[in-house]
């Protein structure tokens, strides 16, 4: 649900990074924060445990510049990936405009990826969204690990509507901005449609 503020001439959109625990959602946001010009970003807020596991969410506001005289702002959120934080995860999806699914490429985490994807679909449904209709991108993270599954195998299991897929090594920044740009574009194109 985009917030269009004619008074301040701003468009505000919300993008949520979803996926299994330790998959690299927070790493994506941290990399974006580090590499973004200070004028174009706000404070990075992390509600995390003492051991740096996301407890509630990470939040990063980005200012992408003007489009048709409107300042375009994206609010990036991550959800806590661990299974038992489901109640918190649902809350973060409220008012979402686009979703990035960060999948863990390690073979041993494929089951967790699939469970998280099913969970995403269910939680979106509870908020009144259909995953098939929401702007959606998949990121295959941790491509550098020796136990990473082949890309084609992951696509076969995860892709379900021809959504864009990006290979990434979020810790090094590979694929991070490509993913962000694509989801941001998809959200803006959705805005153009006017729904």
């Amino acid at each position: 649900m985009t917030f269009i503020n004619y008074a301040a001439r701003e468009i505000n959109c919300k993008i949520v990074y979803y996926g299994p625990g330790l998959g690299g959602k927070t790493t994506n946001i941290k990399f974006i924060y580090e590499k973004t010009n200070p004028n174009a970003k706000g404070k990075l807020i992390s509600l995390a445990t003492e051991t740096d596991r996301t407890l509630f969410f990470d939040f990063l506001p980005l200012d992408l510049g003007e489009i048709r005289g409107f300042r375009t702002r994206f609010h990036l959120y991550t959800v806590p990936g661990q299974v038992f934080y489901d109640a918190s995860r649902k809350l973060i999806l409220k008012g979402v405009d686009g979703v990035v699914f960060v999948a863990d490429s390690q073979a041993a985490r494929m089951e967790a990826n699939l469970e998280s994807l099913r969970n995403l679909e269910l939680n979106l449904k509870e908020q009144g969204y259909d995953l098939r209709a929401v702007p959606y991108v998949v990121q295959l993270n941790k491509r550098d690990l020796p136990t990473a599954l082949p890309v084609e195998e992951m696509k076969r299991q995860l892709v379900f509507k021809g959504e864009p897929v990006f290979e990434a090594i979020a810790a090094k920044g590979n694929g991070v901005f490509e993913t962000l740009k694509t989801i941001a574009k998809m959200v803006l194109l959705e805005l153009r449609k006017g729904r």
């Binding site: 649900m1 375009t72 009144g128």
Partner: protein, 164 residues
């Protein structure tokens, strides 16, 4: 997609500002702040220089969302007011019209009783303005004053945002 986009036009924005400016005076508060339940800032008045309002909006919405869930867990519909007491500053958070969050930051120059009283009155006024805002948001965007500037967005416009 779920529901319509939230659209704030200048007319409602000015009315909202009038109400929250007056509310701030009546409460003797440092800051009065209005945020959508999804974490988008709608309007703010007061001593804002030292405050990261974007972060405040996001955290206030997160706080209310978590508290709403807690309420439902124990069989309550909602906890309509949240109050955080600090050494110097206090935070009074309430939900207006089930949709928008009103945050009042105040110090020893005011009191919880006064803030509660004034917020109650101000909320009714804000509720009426928000009703109009929601109705306009739900209407097709073409019908809105000035038409939709977004129908004309080109791929080039979008590419320009990412040119650096």
């Amino acid at each position: 997609m779920s529901g319509a986009d939230l659209v704030l036009h200048d007319e409602e924005y000015q009315k909202i500002r009038e109400v929250i400016t007056r509310l701030r005076g009546e409460c003797n508060a440092k800051v009065v702040f209005l945020v959508d339940k999804n974490g988008q800032q709608i309007a703010a008045e007061g001593e804002l220089e030292a405050i990261d309002t974007t972060a405040l909006a996001s955290l206030a919405a997160g706080n209310v969302a978590a508290t709403d869930s807690l309420a439902r867990l124990i069989g309550e519909k909602e906890f309509s007011i949240l109050f955080h007491e600090g050494e110097r500053d206090n935070l009074h958070i309430s939900v207006v019209g089930g949709r928008v969050i009103l945050v009042v930051i105040f110090d020893e120059r005011s009191s919880l009783g006064l803030v509660r009283l004034r917020v109650k009155k101000g909320s009714a006024e804000l509720g009426a303005i928000l009703d109009v805002m929601m109705k306009k948001s739900a209407a097709p965007r073409k019908a809105a004053a000035g038409g939709s500037p977004f129908a004309e967005i080109t791929d080039e416009d979008i590419d320009k945002l990412f040119s650096d």
